[in-house]
């Protein structure tokens, strides 16, 4: 097991390099000059522009800029954003916000996805199954932006049940609405996968054999169907967990939660390569850790993959 974990961590290093280099290259290739973009229509004095360009290494060649931001990152000298914010301060402020939002969002997403998926899978082709399938289709078809603003208007502005935006009401009140929105936009995929997986497993030969042997339905369900049906579901839940950061970009921007997603959005908008790479690295590390955890859990629930 230790060797397995070590192997995965070692393999992550070259992937990490490729990911950070790729992300940095993408930001570098984005059109527009960040400092001019920041100034709008107003002219910037040449001396000011030169000083700012030097401060952020913007005149250096691409690879030098990349290496300098990697050096800053590994030595903990995060510096400031173009707008003057201390990046270390920002991380201290924003990481807890994103963690709170992500956890709550995942709880909603997983509970809704698993409940709907399991129920529909067991009662397949019933009225509820069809209704749930339709509901997941609607949710998949509605763009997140529309859903988020509708939720904000309905529950925040009209009904006043939940805060419109911001973190002033603390945890969990401030996070409920965005987390429910994340849950709604994200649960459909999980629900459909769970349902299909259960249907597939229930129809497989070993379940028929179990039934032929005369095992009770409850035992078939809990001992034979569920453990096998949940394998792909665990994988998807892992990917969901790691990808929650992407969902946070939209939710944090619309609900004005000062988390990493909002920070990422600002950084991309302003073409701040260093910040984007820093945040991507954080997301990447989380991805690696969660994937590792999923692999370990996988081994625990499926003995077949333990020695792969």
């Amino acid at each position: 097991m230790i060797r397995f974990i070590l192997r995965r961590i070692l393999a992550a290093i070259p992937i990490g390099l490729i990911v950070t280099l790729g992300v940095f290259a993408l930001v570098f290739a984005m059109p527009g000059d960040p400092l001019r973009e920041l100034a709008g229509d107003k002219p910037i004095p040449a001396a000011v522009l030169a000083a700012k360009r030097a401060q952020y290494h913007l005149d250096d060649p691409f690879i030098v800029q990349y290496l300098l931001s990697m050096k800053d990152m590994f030595t903990g000298h995060f510096g400031t954003t173009f707008a003057g914010a201390d990046i270390a301060d920002q991380l201290r402020l924003r990481i807890p916000v994103t963690l709170k939002l992500a956890t709550l969002g995942l709880v909603f997403q997983w509970i809704a996805g698993l409940l709907f998926g399991l129920y529909a899978g067991f009662k397949r082709n019933g009225v509820m199954d069809r209704l749930l399938l339709l509901a997941t289709l609607v949710v998949l078809a509605v763009p997140g932006l529309v859903l988020y603003f509708t939720g904000q208007y309905l529950f925040g502005v009209e009904l006043k049940w939940l805060p419109v935006s911001g973190t002033r009401d603390g945890w969990p009140m401030s996070y409920l609405l965005p987390a429910i929105c994340i849950g709604i936009t994200g649960f459909a995929g999980l629900a459909r996968l769970t349902r299909t997986s259960i249907v597939d497993t229930a129809n497989s030969d070993f379940v028929k054999t179990a039934r032929a042997k005369g095992l009770g339905e409850q035992r078939i369900l809990w001992r034979h169907v569920l453990p096998n049906a949940l394998l792909p579901v665990v994988t998807l839940m892992g990917i969901d967990f790691a990808g929650i950061f992407a969902g946070a970009v939209l939710a944090e921007s619309i609900f004005n939660l000062p988390g990493l997603g909002q920070f990422m959005f600002q950084a991309i908008k302003l073409k701040e390569g260093g910040v984007v790479v820093l945040l991507s690295t954080l997301a990447f590390l989380m991805f690696i850790l969660i994937n590792l955890a999923v692999d370990v859990i996988y081994g625990a629930i499926d003995p077949r993959v333990r020695n792969v």
């Binding site: 001396a47 030097a54 914010a85 935006s165 609900f255 004005n256 000062p258 600002q266």
Partner: protein, 526 residues
Amino acid sequence: MTVGLALLLSSCGDGKSSSGSGSGDKSEIIAIAADPLEYINPLNENGSPGIQVAMAVFAPLVTTDPNTGKLQNVMADSITPDKTSQTWTVKLKPGNTFQNGQALTAKDYVDSWNMTAQGSNAWKNNGFFSKVEGYDALNPPTPDGATPKPTSVKTLSGLKQVDDLTFTVKLKVPFSQFGLTLQYFGLAPLPEEVRKNPDAYKRKPIGNGPYKMAADWNAGDDIKLAKWDGYKGPNAPEAQSITYRFIPNADTAYNEFLAGNVDFVDVPPTKVKTFKSDAPDGWVTAVSSGANYLVMPAWDARYKNPKLRHAFSMAIDRKAFADLVGLSDPAKGLIAPDIDGYRDNACKYCDYDPAKAKQLLQEAGGFSDPVIISYSTTSATGQIFAEAIGNMLRQNLGLTVKYSGKAGSDITTLADTRKLDGLRFSGWGHDYPSIEDYLTPMFKSNGDANFAGYNNPALDAVLAKGDAEPDQEKAIKIYQQAEDIALEDMPLIPLYTKSNAYLHSAKIEPRVSKYVGVSALYATFK
């Protein structure tokens, strides 16, 4: 019985009012739809959110009287030019202090301005001082890629302290409008303890204005201000306390207002059609100080003939275009309508007349190449506006039109290096309310914002004459001649002037002035 009824009525009027004595709680929450500020330092700030907060914490030398539009002294006792308008003497009122109790003196202005003029500090209002004698010594040319070094010269030779309350500013050339420029909030002084270590005071500014920081301000917090008793200037606002809340998403900020959580918000472009029904009793509009143009590339010989430019201008249905933009009016000249010297009949070639336009195009020899219109892909409306103008040129002049979407700053860079092919949009808002602040930046041959790369020595000469004319009325007449020249040559085709709309709660009535626009800071309380 009467008492009971009165209490009942007073509690109905406004859900937020405090105890029944009649003196309501004079606090307001102002939403700013922008990323949170990271510091408050007026000298290193030229964006609207930063200047908005600086207006509460700092006080300028002079300001525009919101009722008369005339210049009014605030920290200054007098600002007088010499005979040529080249050297200006600023006398401060005695008795003003900073919020740390330290007296406000001429030295504070001179030292703060010298710091800003030093190019290696990279403070955003550095460019303001380029008119002052000695600026170049503090801002030597820097080779590409090099970091500007602090110069051995630390002070502007044109800036001199005379006594505790007096200093003089000598400009490179005469400039009759200099007094007006001094109302810019980006020129506010910093006290000595802040000047020694500006970074240490990024989040705890010490100003000289009507409000001081009321609470610690950490990253991500609202900015909370309380009235400062030491402010002795004119026009103290009514609010006892003000909270600035940053909500980067403008639609979210708008929803916060509708939910009753903030007292004042800007109407974002997406709500221009609905804001009046969303808040039927709580909206105000005012003409925004600025104007918007279509830029003709002066570096491209094909667009050189003024008749061709007039043809383009007269092929544009400005009314339809302004309706498309929303909350806008067709432009009738090159300057904003709220500026002294604005004439609503300045432009002779801005009426929609397709027949005349066609005739002018013929007289100019026609235009056979495709007209390329560049638009900013970072703007949500860039492409729509470009296609609207393109369709008018196509239908009314029979031209072929192509569109090119690019990042806004890429278009600027291409235009700055004279490599942009075709037309683009631009807009300008003044830094100080003078007709001159439209003409010099955009039409003087070395103007800061000469979008078209336009150059006409005759116009430069008229501007210089206006700059040297100490009588403001006469100066405006001279500047109007410059506007006429620019309209004849038409490097910029006037398109529209925009109004801004704002929503306010029942608790406040924002100040609306035709000279300085809408202000929540100066709201009155009901």
